[in-house]
């Protein structure tokens, strides 16, 4: 599966993770180019619907990155995310997707290296899982 290049969607919150991604870029940290970053104001504004739509349209993996618990710019935004993502993961598991295709992680603005690590790990994991089966089964 070495020639499989996954498509990965990363929702990054404006205040922490996007700045973290910026820092990783400025620090010239190397990471796989499979990730499409979507900048959102808060990780809580990532509706479950966005993730479900992405997965059901054939995106191989979805990353949701937000501020650490307690550091949210909107006080308790990321609490909602932390409660929402497990439900989405379980739903995907129930219909037969691998729940590892959706991942939630916390990356602060100072953690450029963690951003790199999360991205690299996630891409490796998705490469191990193979392409999203939805295109094949729904066609």
């Amino acid at each position: 599966m070495s020639d499989f290049n996954p498509t990965i969607l990363a929702f990054c919150c404006n205040w922490c993770s996007y700045a973290g991604a910026d820092l990783a870029g400025v620090s010239r940290l190397q990471m796989p180019p499979n990730v499409h970053v979507v900048r959102v104001m808060c990780s809580a504004s990532v509706k479950g619907e966005y993730i479900l739509k992405a997965i059901s349209q054939g995106v191989d993996g979805v990353l949701v990155l937000g501020c650490h618990i307690g550091d949210c710019h909107y006080m308790t935004g990321n609490h909602r995310t932390a409660k929402r993502i497990p439900v989405v993961q379980k739903l995907l598991k129930d219909v037969g997707f691998d729940e590892r295709r959706v991942r939630l992680d916390w990356v602060s603005a100072a953690e450029g290296e963690k951003f790199q690590r999360v991205i690299t790990e996630f891409v490796e994991e998705i490469k191990g899982l193979g392409p999203n089966p939805v295109r094949e089964v729904m066609s």
């Binding site: 619907e49 909602r80 739903l91």
Partner: protein, 261 residues
């Protein structure tokens, strides 16, 4: 006037002191919901036809200026009503419940795990079904096979929206499933996102009445999908819908971890 109608009318108007009665009635061989005022002939009341009368009630409630309504409620209707009360869509003082315990056949059909209403006026309370065969069979399958099963089921969908129209707890003003951002307008079947988004929306409020499955013309086992997710939500948060005192876990904050607020 049938005995059943007489009995129901006496419970509603004499015992509970209601002004209206909402029940199912047979007319010319068809069964339909009917709203009766005090003193009207109830006719051929039918209680063996499962239907979410709460759904009808939510449609006519804005036009009911005053008066109390007695509704025939199974346990699932009761839970749906609680969801309405929780969101302050109904005034609890104006809705009176006539508890109906489901028959054994009905419990088996819904694979119902909670069939007995809080107060039973009519019917014999039956034992709950412990498990849903299809969901157990599905979860024992390897994931790829399960995905193929659901893909086959979802491909039967013709996007008639019967599941949303008959659902008693679908009460958003604007339905996200009608937005083309999420579900593209042309194209039947609507793809996987339609069903996944609907299941996700109902994760914290589905009362497992099975109305979606009954109304589905393509016979997609939607109730099984709801049951699977309800079980997960129960496992993660220990939350089950159908109680006006509990708050959905998706709307609350985490208990631990936040020191600043």
């Amino acid at each position: 006037m049938s005995d059943l109608g007489k009995k129901l009318a006496s419970i509603a108007f004499d015992e509970l002191g209601a002004d209206y009665l909402l029940a199912m009635r047979e007319e010319h061989g068809n069964v339909a919901p009917v709203m009766l005022a005090r003193g009207q002939d109830p006719g051929e009341i039918r209680l063996d036809v499962p239907y979410q009368l709460v759904n009808i009630l939510s449609n006519i409630y804005p036009w009911l200026k005053d008066g109390k309504v007695a509704v025939v409620t199974r346990r699932c209707d009761e839970k749906a009503l609680e969801e309405f009360f929780k969101r302050e869509l109904f005034d609890p003082r104006r809705i009176l419940k006539i508890g109906l315990a489901c028959s054994k056949e009905q419990v088996a059909k819904c694979r119902c795990s909670d069939p007995v209403p809080a107060k039973t006026h009519i019917g014999e309370p039956q034992k709950a079904m412990e498990k849903d065969e299809l969901s157990e069979k599905l979860m024992a399958m390897p994931p790829e096979e399960r995905l193929r099963f659901w893909a086959y089921q979802f491909k039967k969908c013709n996007k008639c929206f019967a599941c949303t129209l008959t659902c008693p707890v679908c009460f958003c003003d604007e339905c996200i499933l009608e937005e083309k951002t999420f579900v593209p307008e042309p194209g039947i079947p609507p793809g996987m996102s339609f069903h996944l988004i609907r299941a996700y929306h109902l994760a914290d409020k589905c009362i497992e009445c099975g109305e979606c499955e009954r109304s589905c013309p393509a016979e997609i086992p939607l109730l099984t999908l709801r049951k699977l997710l309800a079980k997960d939500v129960k496992e993660i948060f220990g939350f089950a819908p159908g109680d006006r005192k509990t708050v959905s876990p998706l709307l609350t904050v985490l208990e631990e971890g936040c020191n600043e607020c």
